[in-house]
Amino acid sequence: MNEVHLLFQVAAIGIVLAMIHTILKQMGKEDIAHWVTLIGFIIILVIVIDHLSRLFQQIKSVFLLQMIIRGLFM
């Protein structure tokens, strides 16, 4: 069930980021807004890459893509 939690978390981060961006823009601090959005994006990117690497590890183990093909793939 933790997938659903993570999905909601990422969506929440996205929405909150957008709101912060608009608020900061109205306050006149345009550049900080861009920085905040960038940092939020990087946080989500790290989460996604973590799950992606877990997926690739599992695929390598399930489909026996590890043994002989070490040179070809990795």
Binding site: L7, I44, I59
Partner: protein, 129 residues
């Protein structure tokens, strides 16, 4: 009933993607990637059970399927390349998606080369010199 569960999760997640897409495009694409990863992880657990049953059948009835591991590898490569290329297509990056598919085909070809060679050798034996 697990099917209904996973479908519900996917529908909810797609609603989230549409919601986030209005505000910023890039994070919605990350969300799409995460959904794809979760579905794949879910499927992979079932596929590994499938392969275990397959191996048990082979070992019990000692039916030897030649090149079984190559077949598994080809399936794995096809799986991953299709995952990546459909993601890119979804992000309107058609050109890169086509390239990714080409890379996948090349790897499958390289993997299947020894089988081609084996087939050719058996053919050559039939032709009398």
């Amino acid at each position: 009933m697990q099917l209904l569960q996973i479908l519900a999760v996917v529908i909810i997640a797609s609603l989230l993607v549409i919601l986030v897409r209005e505000r910023n495009e890039s994070i919605s694409f990350l969300l799409v990637i995460i959904i794809g990863v979760f579905i794949f992880l879910y499927i992979l657990s079932h596929i590994s059970q499938l392969f275990d049953v397959f191996n048990q059948i082979i070992s019990r009835f000692n039916v030897s399927i030649p090149h079984l591991d190559t077949i598994l590898k080809v399936i794995g490569i096809a799986y991953i390349t299709e995952f990546a290329s459909h993601l890119l297509k979804d992000a309107d990056l058609e050109a890169i998606a086509v390239k990714v598919e080409m890379v996948g085909k090349i790897f499958i070809l390289v993997l299947a080369l020894p089988i081609f060679i084996a087939v050719l050798e058996t053919l050559m034996h039939f032709i009398p010199h």
